[in-house]
Symmetry: C2
């Protein structure tokens, strides 16, 4: 619930990891809303969880990005005993299609703290500024 | 327009880059819809553009993820002569808040082609499978 209220995630300085989950829902709830809420609560309790951002439109298309301190934390969450059956139900019932990408966040900037610099790729793009 | 129809982006094998743009719109259109559509058309024409996924809900919260072959392509698009004023208008008029993250996609899998393996972090997580 606190997740739903804070829509923009407040993440630490990179590097850290992002799991980009893009999905198209099937019609009807069939237990989806309850499980989605529960998974978000549970994810937020896992070691290495840094935050998440999630949105779904009226057509059932959605993007959820969760942020993690490292790949080990992502693997542990993927293997979580309560998360596994939710993944299976997602594949079989709730999602007509989905794509999941694991990415290493190298840089970030926002409206209030725009610390992006010109020509970032050439100068220390992989380091912490 | 073709972008809007194909909601899930069809990306090549990693590695490639993702720009994760999370934003909260202000009220009212004020030229936003036209410019957003134009920027998507224009982005799709840039060298290194691989695809994009975008969703915004009725509360004005949105996530757009665009995919690029490398950081140079991202930097070139950021500096594009027609993109620059759109970024400024976004900062001043259209977005109450936003966060932009640049991340290197290392792995991906989907519903139809799930080539994820157990314990991926320990075994070649940075290589192409």
């Amino acid at each position: 619930m606190s997740f739903k209220q804070a829509r923009l995630a407040s993440t630490p300085e990179p590097p850290y990891y992002a799991v980009i989950f893009t999905s198209q829902r099937t019609d009807g709830d069939r237990g989806y809303a309850y499980t989605a809420e529960r998974m978000m609560e549970l994810a937020a309790q896992q070691p290495g969880f840094l935050g998440a951002e999630s949105v779904r439109d009226a057509n059932g298309f959605g993007i959820t990005v969760s942020y993690w301190s490292n790949q080990e934390a992502i693997a542990a969450w993927k293997a979580h005993v309560e998360h596994k059956p939710a993944q299976e139900a997602g594949k079989r019932v709730w999602y007509a299609d989905y794509q999941l990408r694991i990415a290493k966040v190298e840089r970030q900037y926002g409206k209030l703290l725009d610390h992006d610099r010109e020509a970032p790729p050439a100068t220390g793009a992989h380091g912490i500024p």
